[in-house]
């Protein structure tokens, strides 16, 4: 599927590549051949990178095992949620399968006082921020629209309207700058989201105010059924330069590279160098959500090719080859996984339905006469049944 296929009837030549002063020319960089930052090959071999090695130079075997553990537990949690949806315990689930490295690597790069603005699939980032994973399930079960306090872990609620949160992130970062604080913000969004006007406006505002924000785009190749070619004809990380800040593409299935690049970007933010765009080149291995049927729009070969780049297997190969983890570690982690699954299952099943009056709660902070009136009518109406039943 080429980018021109929809519009052009006659053959059209592709964009030229010559470049002269005063003119920037589109770079032909097919998205299948990304120039990406990689520290671990798909086979788990550590490769040198002059620029980013320093950001993971001091990493200990313990920390490496920690990243592995994060990814494994996140995947386990995710699988549990998918099966809870199948069992009817959740209305919907948006799986992060395949994106563990992008999320754990970037999530672990954040500092406690940083602030995270997720979209709706950042279960791994939530994990890194210490949000209890069962809290993530409330909105998918339909008991609330966001079940945690954003300020407890500096992890904002999931945002479903694509792209909106990038502006909130930018504003929050403007506030950090105003306060003279040295923390930073990271905003997550997808390849599809890159087309939204709000995301472009967040680039503009963050550049103009030099806001300490990292835009972390997980390019998982798909926006529901649409491949990234329907959103852009050049790699997404290049978008940033036209707004005056750097963009970098990182191997999104390489947790070390994601950690290093995000640390670099967050440090830029902290030290007053303004925004950065990180494109984590990864793959949505599963369906868009449990409502989706990817067989309608993509073949198995693609997924299989990406399974060979699995972020968890990759780190495991490295851990094993470098003797950083033994059988005992993996066995213990397996037990921990099972326990997490069980805890999540039980927590979801025990999750109470909200009180009916919750409809009227929190519509306003300072109250509203109409809400009071409607609540009272609702109460009277509810009471009329009790009366009847009681009679």
């Amino acid at each position: 599927m080429t980018v021109e296929s929809t519009a052009a009837r006659k053959p059209r030549r592709s964009a030229g590549t010559k470049s002269t002063a005063g003119k920037t020319t589109a770079r032909k960089s097919p998205s299948t051949d990304p120039e990406l930052v990689q520290l671990l090959t798909p086979e788990g071999k550590r490769v040198k990178n002059a620029e980013y090695d320093k950001y993971v130079a001091g990493i200990t075997p313990d920390e490496l095992r920690g990243l592995y553990r994060d990814m494994v537990l996140t995947r386990r949690f995710d699988a549990e949620a998918t099966s809870l949806q199948r069992q009817g315990e959740l209305g919907l689930w948006a799986s992060l399968l395949g994106q563990e490295a992008a999320q754990i690597g970037s999530g672990r790069a954040t500092r406690e006082d940083d602030y995270v603005f997720p979209t709706y699939r950042e279960h791994g980032v939530a994990w890194c921020r210490g949000v209890d994973p069962t809290n993530l399930l409330g909105m998918f079960r339909g008991v609330n629209n966001g079940g945690w306090d954003p300020n407890s872990n500096n992890f904002q609620l999931y945002t479903i309207v694509i792209g909106s949160q990038t502006l909130h992130a930018t504003g929050y970062a403007m506030g950090i700058a105003k306060d003279g604080a040295d923390s930073a913000v990271i905003a997550y969004f997808g390849d599809g989201a890159s087309s939204q006007g709000d995301v472009a406006e967040s680039f503009t505002f963050s550049a103009v105010y030099n806001a300490p924000v990292v835009f972390f785009c997980q390019n998982n190749q798909w926006a529901i059924s649409e491949p990234t070619e329907k959103q852009t004809r050049v790699p997404l990380y290049q978008r940033a330069q036209g707004y005056g800040f750097p963009g970098v593409r990182v191997d999104g299935n390489d947790v070390l590279a994601c950690l290093a690049v995000t640390k670099w970007a967050l440090e830029r933010a902290r030290s007053g160098e303004g925004p950065t765009l990180v494109e984590a080149y990864t793959y949505r291995m599963g369906a868009h959500t449990t409502s989706d049927d990817p067989s309608r729009y993509r073949g198995d070969e693609e997924r299989m090719a990406w399974e060979a780049k699995d972020p968890i297997l990759r780190l495991r190969a490295y851990l094993e080859a470098s003797n950083h983890a033994d059988e005992g570690f993996f066995a213990e982690l397996e037990r921990e996984s099972e326990a997490l699954g069980k805890r999540v299952r039980e927590a979801v099943r025990a999750m109470p339905d909200p009180d009916h009056f919750a409809i009227f709660e929190n519509v306003y902070a300072d109250g509203h006469a109409l809400v009071d009136e409607e609540r009272a009518q609702f109460a009277a109406y509810q009471a009329s049944f009790t009366d009847v039943e009681g009679a």
Binding site: T6, I160, F378
Partner: protein
């Protein structure tokens, strides 16, 4: 030819017919191509009409409506899909300031025959932004027409008429009725686009609704009949314009009116209907026009939606209250 067809399928067939008969008709939206839309309303159309007629767009609603306007200026008749009710707002500026006003701005020189399809309403257990009913926000805006079918036959024909209209039409599809089946006679056009229809005759009170609430009102009328009350049910079909003549005729007979919609009552269509019908039928009404709809609160999480939405009991309660005057 009359077939039993689900409402979603009826729209699909109607779009297919339009693509077939008018080479200027285009389908545009997110995931409308290979996937056939998240509700499969455009299923198979790209396969049969190609990527140049059935266009998967970038994920940007303002861009979808804005480029559709440009395509219409070039002579095309785009039918654009907004994936869910709650995602129409990024396109709201293009709809309100451009789509709605271009015909007047150009003193009639420019026509924008664009249909904006919006699956809307609740009752399907969805997450936030997937269950809203924003029709009032479009009806208030001059230059737009706003319609909502309640059954497969209307879905089929109203879509034909909307596409043929030289005005922009916001086409609200009752998503929780997508799978309801009924007969669709694809030969005989049932009537004008903006005319209401009496779906059940009655003498004691008029229930007026459109889209997903028509079926509910029919159930209410059935239940009321068991208690010996004879309700008339009107399917309004159009929210802009509203067929006040038909409502008036009904109310002059029944003398009581209850309007039902999923959208919040405050500033909803029921307000406009109540105000205008009270003015037209001041001496006929035995009771104030009552409204049953959503509360002044964001659409709640799925496990609360049954309490939030008008249901059989709540409408019956309003009927009782109206009859008690």
């Amino acid at each position: 030819m009359a077939d039993k067809m689900a409402l979603a399928k009826a729209i699909n067939e109607s779009l297919r017919r339009a693509l077939d008969t008018d080479p200027k008709v285009l389908i545009m939206g997110e995931d409308v191509g290979k996937l056939g839309g998240v509700f499969r309303v455009t299923d198979g159309l790209q396969k049969d009409f190609g990527e140049s007629r059935v266009i998967d767009t970038p994920l940007a609603e303002s861009g979808i409506v804005g480029t559709a306007i440009g395509l219409a200026l070039r002579g095309y008749r785009p039918v654009v899909e907004i994936q869910f009710d709650g995602f129409v707002f990024p396109a709201y500026d293009q709809i309100v300031t451009q789509l709605a006003k271009m015909h007047a701005r150009s003193l009639g020189k420019v026509k924008l025959p664009i249909v904006v399809r919006i699956p809307y309403g609740g009752g399907i257990g969805a997450v936030e932004h997937h269950s809203e009913s924003p029709e009032a926000l479009f009806a208030h805006v001059a230059g737009l027409k706003v319609v909502s079918p309640s059954n497969p036959s209307d879905a089929y024909w109203m879509m034909q008429q909307a596409i043929q209209s030289d005005d922009p039409v916001i086409f609200f599809e009752p998503k929780r009725r997508y799978w309801d089946k009924a007969e669709v006679n694809t030969d005989a056009i049932p009537g004008p686009l903006h005319k209401a229809r009496v779906v059940r005759e009655g003498s004691d009170l008029t229930l007026a609704a459109y889209g997903p609430m028509v079926k509910l009102c029919q159930e209410v009328a059935d239940a009321a009949a068991e208690e010996g009350r004879n309700l008339e049910v009107l399917d309004l079909r159009s929210v802009s314009p509203i067929d006040f003549d038909s409502i008036q005729a009904s109310v002059e007979k029944t003398r009581r009116l209850v309007v039902v919609h999923e959208a919040p009552v405050f500033f909803g269509s029921g307000a406009e209907i109540a105000a205008r019908i009270t003015e037209r039928c001041f001496y006929h009404l035995e009771a104030p026009v009552l409204r049953v709809g959503g509360y002044h609160a964001p659409y709640p999480p799925a496990r609360l939606e049954e309490e939030y939405l008008p249901g059989l009991d709540r409408v019956l309660d309003a009927v009782d209250r109206a009859l008690a005057y």
